[in-house]
Amino acid sequence: MFIHIDNKTYTVKAGKNLLEACLTLDLDLPYFCWHPAMGSVGACRQCAVKVYKDENDMKGRLVMSCMETVTEGLRLSIEDKTAKAFREQVIEWLMTNHPHDCPVCDEGGACHLQDMTVMTGHDYRRYNYKKRTYTNQYLGPLINHEMNRCIQCYRCVRYYRDYAGGDDLNVFAAHNHVYFGREKDGVLQSPFSGNLSEVCPTGVFTDKTLKEHYTRKWDLTMAPSVCNHCSVGCNTIAAERYGQLRCMLNRYNGDVNGYFLCDRGRFGYEFVNSENRIKQALIRSRTNEAATESEIMEHVQSLISMSKVVGIGSPRASLESNFALMQLVGKENFYQGISEDEAHLNRLVVEMLRSGCVHSVSLKEIEQADAVLIIGEDIWNTAPMMALAVRQAVVKTAASQASQEIKIPVWLDSAIKELAQEEKGFLATLTIATSPIDDIATHSWHAAPDDLARLGFAIASYLQPGKIVNTDFSEALLDKAKKIGDALKKAKNPVVITGTSCYNDNVIKAAFDVAVALNTGERKTSFSCVMTECNSMGLAMMGSPSFSVANENIKTNGHATAVILENDVYKHIPSANADEFFNSCDHVIVLDALHNATTEKAQVLLPAATFADGDGTLVNNEGRAQRFFQVIPNTTSQVQESWRWLKKLQTLKLHTLNGHALHPDDLLREMETALPQFEGITNVSPKHDFTIHGEKIPREPHRYSGRTAILANKNVSEPKPFNDGDSPLSFTMEGYKGTPPSGVVPFFWSPGWNSVQSVNKYQEETNGALRGGNPGLQLFKNKSDARDLFFNDVPESFVVAKDRWLLLPKYDALGSGELSSYTAALKTLSPQPFASMSTGSLQALNAKDGDMLQIVDAGIMYGSLPVKADENVCDGVVLVTAGLRESMGMSWGTRVQIKK
């Protein structure tokens, strides 16, 4: 429809509010309380414009643009004198209490309040009284609190409570003494608290880990990155200065993470700066272990040409690195570095998604679901951002129902919240233990994995009678199945979510069967399966056998050199098996970024790049391939991407050295040919030689300071900027200044928009896709001719066995990351290891709450753990905190013995 803004006619989309319309049209209009993901509440009064009745109306009426819907032919003015004066006045009001501490404020230079102040033109303050002061609170190791800077936009509480479902941050007191904080000092409990630093338009809530090594935004070298800490693959911006990773920022991707990140993703970056990093190549058992690259090459060449070479891949290494290893050792000698149990599950997931009979769902689509069924996965802890998406689905379903009921636009947040009140959309969580997400669930049920699978199959059977060859479902189970089935049937966009974390293939099959049974003509069902690592999907798609097979092979054939890629084998495999493997190998070559149990076994250790000092591609659980880019320039150390090491070794081995530089593009092209399942992967991002008008895209903002001084202690001449040549991004501040292609946006900035809010300048419309489409490439395609695939594999009910306990993992949103545990702040928030069992189980063990128990599996004794009684864990099952050092290599999903 058409609207007139300052006497110019524009076309806008119906249903939007005036503020969204203006921002979409690239017109600058200041705002605070409105947030694209949270809608309007009309609190800050900053976005006032004049609206006129018709062309004869000269007087007009001041309205808040975030509160008015666009209507055909609407006339409004941004430039109107009264409107401008009012907007200036609002800033002056806010400034009455805002301290003038920009120079010492962490937000300075990336501050929405600064930007908006400049935008309104307000400069002279007429207020000459004392400002009010507050006491700040300790909010934990992640978020810093400085209440004096608050401008009371209420975004923090709206985000924390309404959007993310937290309850320990609130607004207190009234009038010009409103306080945002906790009831008393203490750690913020939500695993999504880090977003407060981006939601807050000024410096009240800031990133405390950045404070440890603070750098202004304009002084950061930034590159687009992809989160490493779970299988969801949120888009991030990695930011560097002085060779150190300084912070992670959200990188908007309309299909994946939108505006937010979880705390593990945002704060888990410190491993890159860790003292435990491997920076030097080593040849062990020499007098001088440190080796130069040429020594290494020579040494390794002899090792890999002497004997059979076995490659152990990794679910946390990039596709390029895994493929380079596959090329080096040959397809038949390449193995996934994970247990057979996990590899089996991953293969199953790939098979399901490749079948094309259900839609592999993105986070954005989960947010839009009108019914969600979760079977067997504690997504709050294994894929936190997915849990946040499910929360939005549940809340939005109720909101959209309410908005249809009395014709109120969905963005009118406060009104919608009043209308929806406690109403929630349908969510059923069928999991092995309680999870915070149960709070918003319509149905929650906790049982052993096989019983969860049985309920899943019962639902599928209820949805499409006859498709599941019925076994003996109990009345109670059928009743549950009917309740859930009926709710799912009513939905238009149901989503079924499952995951590999309970190590049970029946669970995944059941979830898939429900999705397939739901998938009838008028209904589009979506399916998602959470996996364990950031590239679990990519590795699984390569279709290689598991580590267990490698172990068998080596045991039988002997005499092999193993090349282990970025993988702590001891994390995935029981230590006895891993030891056995290393003992059978003649030589062990390990590439990794951090020292761990596996690197101890290496005779040759090569320093591998992390996501911050290398390029690569990861495939998330949805099947979306996404590229991350190097941000730390590497001029001196030996650290390089594993794929570069491996490719160099390959050229040596094959004598194909031709002096040509090697880029990830080349690897992906070879990969596309060798593995057709990755068709199109070369298009995941612009090629390394991509330029715009001959210019590369700068990783540094044009205000980057000190580049002539940074290395002046070594050489007074300014060095040539580092250039890795792997991507269209340059390590300088010069280059193309316009909007880059969406996949290679190193930072969000626009004239007058220095804060994260500048993302609206990169979007096609507010809250929409990035210009040119959201980055990432979906590798699984829906097939319209796909035949319905039913697994129809109903397991027997779970039976409690005497003295044998089903061992299952209990993840923690902050504590369970192998790499994120190197962030001191997250480490302190990680739970101490413990086991939990039902009181019935404890009685059977003759133990009580708080006793120390020891898990014994196939002769391996694990360290003893305190046990907690948990009524929601079913009899016969023992849950153990997973992802911690103490529970590494446990055989999840198998029956173990427990000693008191």
């Binding site: 609190a43 006045q89 009455t96 207020y127 009038h175 010009n176 409103v178 109120i408 406060s414 009140q421």
Partner: protein, 449 residues
Amino acid sequence: MGVKLLLDKAHVEGIRYYDVYRREGGYRSVEKALKMSPADIVEEVKKSGLRGRGGAGFPAGMKWSFIAKPEGVPRHLVCNADESEPGTFKDRYLMEFLPHLLIEGLIVASFALGSNATYIYIRGEYAWIPDILEQAINEAKANGWLGKNIQGSGFDCEIYVQRGAGAYICGEETALIESLEGKRGNPRIKPPFPAVKGVWDRPTVVNNVETLAAVVPVINMGGEAYSKIGVGKSTGTKLISACGNINKPGVYEIDMTISVEEFVYSDEYCGGIPNGKRLKACIPGGSSVPILPANLLFKTAKGEQRMMNYESLSDGGFATGSMMGSGGFIVLDEDQCVVKHTLTLARFYRHESCGQCSPCREGTGWMEKILKNIETGKGKMTDIDLLWDIQRKIEGNTICPLGDAAAWPVAAAIRHFRDEFEWHVNNPELCLTQNFGLAHYADAREVVA
């Protein structure tokens, strides 16, 4: 002697108790109403021209007719007893001395609106009144006027008393609803209007105590007859709580045909200004309505006599008129300082701002600080313009009317008493010990001693 409809029995011994109240003709309106259809009751109230007595003066019958009636959704009537405006205490008087009148009105209104659960949201500082109301509710219940199947009509109704926590903002109907739901008392954004989605998402009507009490005479005498009392659109009677520099402060019932002058000087009402002082200014409708200097109080700008009714009090708009508001009639004599008085009000509104939207939250505090400076002789001439500028930008630009309520008194004070502000600035020493006095805006009339 004007017509009295609400307070006619106020001085009967024991009228607070059911037996006396019933003997004096109480609950007749309920008997009558239960025989009528709810739609007819609404029609009677419409005919009566009864306007909301809380301050805005919106026709009550109209408000009732807006209530949505979705199938299977309960509706609620909420009585707004959060009377917290400085100078207004008429509802307190009603509830304290005539609790059964309110209960009676509530039953009739509940029946008309189909509310089976009706709430009285009462100001926290009225600590002793909930007990009085609860006792009256219990008495009414014991006599079959509340509870299940009232008087055999098949209509069920319960009345609950809910204490507020002392926030003025909770007198704003949507903030009241939030508070009633147990939330922070921040006003809601409208739409949705309470008549569609109010308490717990259900259609709700929020009425002032006096409005609901006035339903009783409306039903008893019929809407037609009620509308004949008073003048024009100011029908029926209005309670005025008079205070300040007058001989007889208190709550008076007027029939809106008397003049302001009569109200101030007649012995039947305020009884004139004490100690032979002269009248300087008056706030005729509660602290948020514009203050009027004496010369504009008794005569409108057109030279007509100003009457105590909605139309006449607002004659001349804000430039030369004021508002009926909630009927809090505050009189200032020649010894009063308008700057100090405005500061007191500004302090009140700053303290009562909920803190939700910027203009009110930040503007009220700033105005208070400026006024304080002017009052204590630290003001500058530019401060007066600044004050004017701030209030002008608050007015009409806030989520709820509290912003307006805070801006109007300041605006009116500067509009009518600018020379007094300037005198404060020009005489920083003197203003600490002396008053500006009457100046030219004093009432022309000689003191009636």
